[in-house]
């Protein structure tokens, strides 16, 4: 299991557009991925659940990745939070 922490760098936070991209990424992994903000944890395969966390710019979230391809999944998720998110 891999756990990573990210500060959301886009000013708008986790809006529908980046959240959609994230769900699409997560669906491509064999590993189970979840997103944690505060004491709430949700599965990354549900856009509804991600949006319901109402993640704003500047907030910190954790991603938990668990499964056989967790190492390669973590690299892709890392790229999403550190690079792609700013452009979406």
């Amino acid at each position: 299991m891999i756990t990573k922490h990210y500060v959301i760098t886009s000013v708008q936070g986790m809006h529908a557009r980046p959240a959609t991209q994230l769900v699409k990424l997560a669906k491509g992994f064999k590993a189970t991925t979840s997103l944690k903000k505060g004491d709430k944890t949700v599965k990354l395969n549900s856009l509804l659940n991600i949006l319901s966390l109402s993640i704003k710019g500047g907030e910190t979230v954790s991603v938990i990745i668990d499964g056989e391809d967790e190492v390669s999944a973590a690299v892709i998720i890392d790229d999403f939070f550190t690079k792609q998110l700013k452009e979406l």
């Binding site: 000013v11 529908a16 959240a19 959609t20 856009l47 109402s54 500047g58 907030e59």
Partner: protein, 570 residues
Amino acid sequence: MKGVGVSPGIAIGRAFVIKKNAPATNGIVLKSQAEIAAEIDRFDSSVVNALGEIDAIKNSSQLMLTDDDIAILETQVELINDPQIREDVVAKIETEKKTANDALIEITAGIVALFESMDDEYMRARSSDFQDIGNRILKYINRTGDINARSFQPDTIVIADDLTPSDTITLDLNLVTGFATQAGSRTSHAAIIAKSKGLPAVVACGDELMTINHNDFIILDGLSGLVYVNPGEEIISRYSAKSASFRQQAEVLKEVKDKPAITADGKRVTLFANISSAEDLDMVHDNGGEGVGLFRTEMLFMDRDTFPDEEEQFGFYKKAVLQAKGKPIIIRTIDIGGDKHLSYFNLLPELNPFLGYRAIRISLDQEGLFMVQLKAILRASAFGPVSIMFPMISNVKEIRDAKLVLNKAKTALIEAGIAFSDDVKVGMMIEIPSAAVTADILAKEVDFFSIGTNDLCQYTLAVDRMNEKITHLYDPFNPGVLRLILNVIEQGREHNIHVGMCGEMASDPLATLLLLGMGLAEFSMSAASIPTIKNIMINNTEVRAKQVCRQVMAMDSSDKIIAYLKEITQ
């Protein structure tokens, strides 16, 4: 009736009312496992059909979808397919023995209520997206026909409770001249689409809007938010004229967009825009803005729980600098206090907040926070032309102290080997009367002044601009205010520093010639006002502006001044 105008312009035409039948529960209780399985099947196949419908929209060659449209549709696909929604619906069918129809209506209502209660305006506006998703699937559960097939007559005004993403994408907006919605806000989907398509639109009209019938004659004013239903002759002719002049005006303004702001006798003036985030720069480029005269940084600090660190601030400023594509940006350091508060920064309630602990006073008091902001701004200067501006300077010590901290920030960056531009200009806002009166002293300290007329006016006239009882006293054409402005501009010229203006007055067409005559070099305003002001410059001369200035400065009251300026601006 009146709503909120979200996209300016006048629309005149016939109403096309879109009434969505509110989904109703049927209250049926399932009696057997077979019925339960059938209802789950019904839900699943409805999801497949709803997805098929989106696919058809995505692949349609007629609709000419933009990248934004595609992104909206992809979000819808994920939501229709959402495993959490399915899990909840199936649980309701299995344990509460409800039909797929009732289960979905209840689950959707719960999600909509959840998002409506969020503290973030963007997330609240998403509640209508979830209603849209629910309705899309429901339509197939109940097999009511296709609600998307709509053809319009020319000059149609669409009247609806709200317009969802799927509505606006599938509506053929070419024949629509405007729309009005019962619900919605400035950030709702309907408002965003209207602005991007240049259609006049009014949202949040309330329940009264749905009393409009098909083919009612409608006039809609997207600026004031007024909606007239079957108006009389007089209103029709007034608005027809208004609409014609608006269109004509729009044409003229489009023409001046790419022209430089030069008077007929060759005086070049700089037209800048005021922005709050990188996103505003599209509008600046669209309206021919030559740069940013005021980048308010407060937005970065508001609606959050902690101070943004240097990295985050750097990212925010850098994004704007890159988005400006080489045009200069004047970044103002934080201006909190007064009417702007931060939940995580303990500002005690004050008797006179506008005369209290705010802006540069906080920055100089909290040097650590100030350093972080200055370092982040300096780092952004490596990516394009950046100037730094300090707000609320009232005496020479404050500006000297602010520059000392700026030098400390530069030293820290140099020691850390971090790049920044060696040509960052330093300026200050002139918004306190003492600063305006001592402009000759302060001019020796900075590279530029920017006159903030809103605060300058309120402080000079002792008028709280938030107090509705005394708004008539808030008057930028008061001779006292005008003399201060003139002094600042003249002292700037005397000491060879650049003088701009970033308050409301810079975008007031009545004040344009007067300020030009005073010798103001840079006007900074909301991007949408730039073409109007530029048009006035192009069609006038500096010689005339100087005459106007002489006349005005000899007058004894703002009534006379305003009457005179109205007369000559016609």
